[in-house]
């Protein structure tokens, strides 16, 4: 990890809090593996493939959680203009994209044995794919070189638009697909009870812990990046003043 020059800044992004979360997440993940792969029963219809549900559904939940944080960070930045909210939005978008990819991947892996194909145009998968594109666009926008203020402003509006548009996309896609659907069983049409339910809930808890852990670290890295940028700015300011004195 890097040592920063400004006094008082941490040498790495870990902390007691994040380590506790991390340990809980790791422990939970191990427990989840045990429950998901060994202890919980296979489904009558879908067989062993249903075990992907324990990753797929939590991943989807975490994906939506991140999107919510993206919207929250964007909106609060626009209201309060403190950089922390903008950094939260950026971190949430990145972590959210990771979970979106995971949701898509597990969805496709689950779909193969269940429907025989890797992709179907059902509401959930299609909306998730659209979300991946929306987040990719948002992150591309963030990468464009601009002043910090300018970038934050554009990103905040774009972030809010992602959140506003997502329900519109979801609604229109699912309405469209229910007109044509019927035969195919949705992957989540699984009778869940007892041990399966417990494993699923455990999966969600683990998912949230992992999300929080990732967000903490990503947030802190982004925060440090901003500090470095600010430090460079102070240096440039000092140089400019020196130039003035020499010229005078």
């Amino acid at each position: 990890m890097n040592q920063t020059t400004t006094g008082g800044s941490p040498a790495h992004t870990g902390s007691r809090g994040s380590r506790i979360v991390g340990l809980l997440a790791a422990g939970g993940a191990v427990a989840l593996l045990v429950f998901a792969l060994v202890l919980s029963p296979a489904d009558r219809i879908q067989g062993e493939a249903v075990r992907l549900m324990y990753v797929h559904v939590p991943a989807a939940i975490c994906m939506y959680l991140c999107v919510g944080l993206l919207g929250l960070g964007s909106a609060l930045w626009l209201v309060k203009r403190t950089p922390g909210w903008d950094v939260l939005a950026a971190a949430a978008a990145e972590v959210g994209l990771v979970f979106t990819a995971l949701t898509l991947l597990t969805g496709m892996l689950w779909g193969r044995p269940t429907w025989g194909v890797y992709w179907v145009w059902d509401a959930r998968l299609t909306t998730t794919a659209m979300l991946a594109v929306l987040l990719a666009g948002y992150l591309a926008l963030r990468r464009v070189p601009a002043t910090a203020e300018s970038r934050s402003r554009r990103a905040a509006v774009a972030g809010l638009l992602v959140v506003i548009d997502l329900p519109l996309i979801h609604y229109s896609v699912s309405w469209w697909r229910t007109l044509h659907q019927g035969e195919t069983i949705a992957t989540t049409d699984v009778k869940i009870d007892g041990l399966m339910l417990f494993s699923l809930v455990l999966g969600m808890a683990v998912g949230v812990l992992v999300t929080v852990w990732l967000l903490i670290h990503r947030f802190r890295v982004a925060w440090l990046e901003e500090e470095v940028e600010q430090g460079g700015l102070d240096l440039a300011l000092a140089e400019r003043r020196a130039e003035a004195e020499v010229g005078a």
Partner: protein, 213 residues
């Protein structure tokens, strides 16, 4: 701040109403940036700035419609004619048709040039059109960046007259130029700008009024 480059690093400037202040300095000194700060287009990152009674730190947008800025970019739509441009910008600011017509006449644009598309004008003619668009709006503060650039002798006379007339009518003028003699002649005061900072004014005392720091 322009990106990561601090264009201004400590400006100390007081301008009284009715003055014509010339900002003089080498390229890259920050003159254009200072003008844009005064127009409320750029944020003030440290210190205080007050223009026309408006605190730029609080709400710089409030001062915008009261100033006029003529800079390097023309602020003109290439596909529209001279008259259409001046009319558009005039009407946007609430000017009457009389104001617009008056501005066109004073800048000598109501003859052959009136209905010519801006894209087909020379640099000097475009500059005059930009100025006409500003004049039609009757701003209280004129911010002129290199006002004499690309104008011929007749154009420069015109600008000087306009400046004097507007000051007589109650406006204040802040201009940046490195075209020495011409600009100094019409100015009431000269301020040196160097390396993003104002150096001690070349002539004269420093009266009350707005401060940009």
């Amino acid at each position: 701040m322009l990106g990561r480059f601090p264009a201004l690093a400590g400006v100390d400037l007081d301008v009284e109403a009715g003055e014509v202040v010339l900002l003089r300095g080498p390229n890259g000194a920050g003159k254009t940036t200072l003008l844009r700060v005064c127009a409320g287009l750029l944020p003030v990152t440290s210190g205080t700035a007050e223009v026309l009674g408006v605190d730029l730190g609080q709400d710089r947008r409030a001062v915008r419609h009261r100033v006029g800025l003529v800079g390097h970019g023309g602020g003109l739509y290439d596909d529209l004619s001279v008259a259409e441009n001046v009319t558009f910008w005039g009407r946007a600011a609430g000017a009457t048709d009389a104001d617009v017509a008056g501005a066109l006449t004073r800048l000598g644009l109501d003859g052959r040039l009136r209905d010519l598309a801006v894209a087909r004008l020379s640099a000097g003619q475009r500059r005059r059109t930009s100025i006409a668009a500003m004049v039609a709006r009757r701003p209280e503060l004129w911010l002129l960046d290199e006002p004499h650039a690309s104008l011929d002798a007749e154009g420069r006379d015109l600008i000087d007259t306009l400046i004097r007339d507007s000051v007589a009518a109650g406006a204040t003028v802040l201009m940046a130029s490195h075209e020495d003699d011409r600009a100094v002649a019409v100015a009431t005061r000269v301020v040196e700008v160097r390396g993003g900072t104002t150096v001690a004014p070349v002539d004269g005392a420093v009266p009350e009024a707005p401060r940009a720091g």
